[in-house]
C-alpha cells in the first residue's frame, strides 16, 4: 500500500500507523506520548500531521491507500512548537537543575524546535513529589500526563500501578495505593525507564552519565531515525 508524505511516495503495510510508516522510511515525526508498540494514547498531539486536509495524530491514524499526508510544513512546525511550549508551562520544569537533562525527550524536542524561552505564561502549579519508595521517586512537577507509565505498567509489566484521576487541568497521575511505596512497583519494572521526562526516576543513580555526554547532548532527538538506525519509540 502506498501513500504520499510531503510529496514523496511511501510504501506501508496495511494497518500500520502513519508514524511507524514514516519512521520505516527514515522520516522522523516528533512524538512524546507514543512508546514502542503499545496501543497509542494520542494525547500529546506533538505528532500531528495533516491527512487529506485534516489534522490527525500520526501515532493513532493508520495509513490509508493514496492518502496525502503533510508533515514538515510551516504551520505544523508552529503548532507542534506550541504543544511543547504548553507542556513546559503547564508543569514546573527547571532543566538546568534536572537530573533528566540530556536524556529528556521534552527538553530534546524543545532544542529541536529552537525554543529558548516559553511563549506562554507559566502556570506554576503546586505539585507534590512522592519519595516514599526505596528505589524510585515520582515528581509530579515534571509529569506531562503522557500516559506511558499507565500503559507500560499494565501491558508490559502486567501490573496496574498508575492511572489518571480528575479531569481537565486538574487531571493528574495517581498511584495504586497511598503512595508509591504501597504499590507493587519494582525498580526493575520496565515502567521506570519508560517516562520521557524527569517524573519517574531511579534513586541513587543520578549523573551516572555526566551532563554533556548524554544522548541528546550529542545529537538531536530523532536523528537516529533520520539516519536510518531506528527510533527510541
Amino acid at each position: 500500500m502506498q501513500f504520499v508524505l510531503d510529496g514523496k511516495t511511501i510504501t506501508a503495510t496495511p494497518g500500520q500507523t502513519i508514524l511507524k510508516a514514516a519512521e520505516a522510511a527514515g522520516v522522523y515525526i516528533p512524538r512524546l506520548c507514543a512508546y514502542k508498540d503499545l496501543i497509542p494514547h494520542g494525547s500529546c498531539r506533538v505528532c500531528s500531521v495533516r491527512v487529506n486536509g485534516r489534522i490527525q495524530a500520526a501515532c493513532v491514524q493508520t495509513v490509508s491507500s493514496g492518502a496525502i499526508v503533510e508533515h514538515d510544513t510551516e504551520e505544523l512546525r508552529e503548532f507542534r512548537r506550541d504543544v511543547i511550549d504548553l507542556l513546559f508551562v503547564e508543569g514546573n520544569h527547571y532543566c538546568m537543575f534536572c537530573e533528566k537533562s540530556g536524556l529528556c525527550e521534552l527538553q530534546a524536542l524543545a532544542y529541536r524546535f529552537g525554543i529558548t524561552a516559553p511563549k506562554y505564561p507559566l502556570l506554576n502549579p503546586k505539585r507534590d513529589i512522592d519519595m516514599s519508595h526505596p528505589d524510585v521517586y515520582l515528581d509530579h512537577n515534571r509529569c506531562i500526563l503522557c500516559g506511558r507509565c499507565v500503559r507500560v505498567s499494565q501491558d508490559l509489566d502486567h501490573k496496574n500501578v498508575f492511572q489518571f484521576v480528575n479531569r481537565g487541568l486538574e487531571k493528574r497521575l495517581q498511584v495504586n495505593g497511598e503512595a508509591l511505596a504501597a504499590t507493587d512497583l519494582r525498580v526493575t519494572d520496565e515502567v521506570v525507564a519508560s517516562c520521557p521526562v524527569g517524573a519517574l526516576m531511579k534513586k541513587r543513580v543520578g549523573y551516572a552519565v555526566p551532563v554533556g555526554d548524554r544522548p541528546f547532548d550529542a545529537q538531536p532527538i530523532g536523528a537516529d531515525i533520520e539516519s536510518g538506525k531506528g527510533g527510541v519509540a
Partner: protein, 603 residues
Amino acid sequence: MKSSTATGVEDVCRKFGNDRTRMMDIVIAVQRRFGCVSTEAMELIARACGTQRVEVESVVTFYAFLSVKPQGRVVIRLCNDIIDWMKGYQDVADAMAKELGVTMGETTADGAITLTHTACIGMSDQAPAALVNDVVVTQLTPERAREVVRDLRRHLDPSQLVTMVGDGHNAHPLVRSMVRNNIRHRGPVHFAEFESGSALRRALARPPEAVVKDIKDSRLRGRGGAGFPAGVKWELARHAPGERRWVVCNADEGEPGTFKDRVLLTERAHQMVEGMTIAGYAIGSDAGIIYLRGEYRYLLAYLEAVLDERRRAGLLGRDILDTPGFHFDIRIQLGAGAYICGEETALISSCEGLRGDPKNRPPFPVEKGYLDLPTIVNNVETYCCVSRILLQGAAWFAAMGTARTTGTKVLSIAGDCRKPGVYEVPFGITPDELLEMAEADNPGAMLIGGPCRQMIGPGRFSGRICYDDLATGGAIMIFNRARNQLEIAEHYLDFFIEESCGHCTPCRVGLIQLKRLVHKVVHGAGEPADLQAMRDLSRFIAQMSRCGLGQTAPNPVLGALDGFPALYEGLVAERKPGLLSTFDLASAVVDAERRVGRQSQYV
C-alpha cells in the same frame, strides 16, 4: 465482624454482578448510600470487581456528581449557566450562602447541606434553577432560595420541596416535578399524536433492509448537531462484523441552553423507545442503552416504568409483537455530571464503566463501539423522528425542511425573550422568525447551537437554521443589546476548561491560556496584539484537539471577535513602551506600603 460499609458496598457490587463494566452504576449507588465513595469503598469495589483501587478512583474523580470526600446529606447544585446569571443567579447564590452560613463549595458545619454550583442542568427556560439532590427547583428568587434552605434545615428531604407540579407528565406520580414543559409550538413530527406500537408494527411488516432504506430515503440527519445521515450510520453498523450489535440513545443533552430532550423524554418517551426498537430491528441488534444525564435523574423512575409497560405489552423483550426471533431490550445507564459524555465515544466509555474520556478514532463506533461491538449512537430527537418516519413515510418527512436538511427541528429558546420554551419548527426557519415567535426584547446577538457553535449578530438574523448555514443541536440563546459578548465568551471558556477531559494538550492547557488572554482584554489590560494572539491560539486549539470539545471550545471567542470587532478594539490600547500592560504597580506595592506605613513615590 464486617463494617457496615463493607456489607453495603458488597451488596451494591453483587447487585451489578460484580461486573467491572457496570462501574458507573456501582459508584453512583455507593455515592447515594454513603454520601461519597470513600477510599475504603473504592478498595472494596476493586476487590469485588477484580480490578485496582486506582481504576475505581479514576472513574469516581472524573464525574462532578461523585466524590471521594463526604458531602452533605443534601447537595444543592445551583445552575451557573449564562442564562441563570442573566436571571439573577448571583443574588440567589448570595441568599443561599448567607442563609446556610457557608461559601460556595462548602458544607454546613453539621455536615447536613452542601452548596455548590454546576453547569447547565437543562432548565434555561425557567432559570435560575438548581438541583437539590435529584429534585429540580426552578425560577428561584432570593426570597424563594431562603425558603428552600429553611425548609431543608427542618426536614432534610428534598422531595418535600415540591409543592406544586408542572404540566404534562411532570405531574405523573413517578416524576412529580416542578418543571414546566413550555411547549410553545407543536410540529407534526414530535408533537402529533403517537400510539405506542403503531410505528413498530409498520417496521416489522417489512424486511430490515427496507427499514434502513426508509431512513436513508427520508434523509434524516442526526439531531445531535453534527448532522451525520442516520440511515448511512445504520447501514454501516448493520454490515459491520460482530457477534452482537448495540443501539445507544444519547440522552445526555449537556449543551448549555438546550432542554428540548428533557421535554421529549417527559412527553414522548414511548415514541423515542419505539424508534430505538425499530433501529434494533433494522441493524440486527438485541440490546439498547439509554444514556441518561445525571441531571435528569428525576425522570429515571418514569422512564423505567415506560420500559416495563412496553415489556408487558410485548413491545420489548423476546419475540417482539410475535415476530419470532426478534428480541430487543433496553437498560438505562445513568451519567454523573460530565458534559463530555455527550460526545459519542466518551458516552460509550462511560457505559463501559470507565472515565468519560473520548476514544481515538478510527475505529468508529459503528465498527467497534460499546464493548468493541458495532454500535449506533443517536440522540433522543433522532429516535423520535424514526418512529414518525415509519408511520408517515420517508417522502412525507423529506418534503419538510430544506433540500439538504429535511424534517423539523425541536429548538429550545431561552434568554432575553418573553416566551422561552420548546418550539418544533421546520428546518430553514430564520433567526428573525424565531425572535418574533419568542417575543425577544431588543435582540443584539444569538447563540445558535450553544457555546460550541456560533454567536451571530443581527447581520445574520436572516440566515437559515439548517446544517448548511446555521447548524444547531437545538439550543438558541438570545441576548439583548446590553449584554457583553466578550464576557459571555469568557464565561463559556470557564465552562469548557471545567468540562475538558484533559486528555490532550491543546485542549487541556490551551484553553486556560486562551482564557487568560480573554480575561486580560476584558479587564482593560489588553493590547492590539492580544486580539491576534487570541485568534491564533483559538485556531491552534480548534485544529489540534482530539475531540469535538476542544475543536469547538474556542468558538465563543472567535464568534465574539468576528461578530463584534468594534467591541474588542475599543478594549485594547497600544502599550506604553517599557511597561508590561498586565502589571499594575500601584496594587503590587500595597502590601509593602502597609508594612512600612507610608505611600510609595513612583511615576
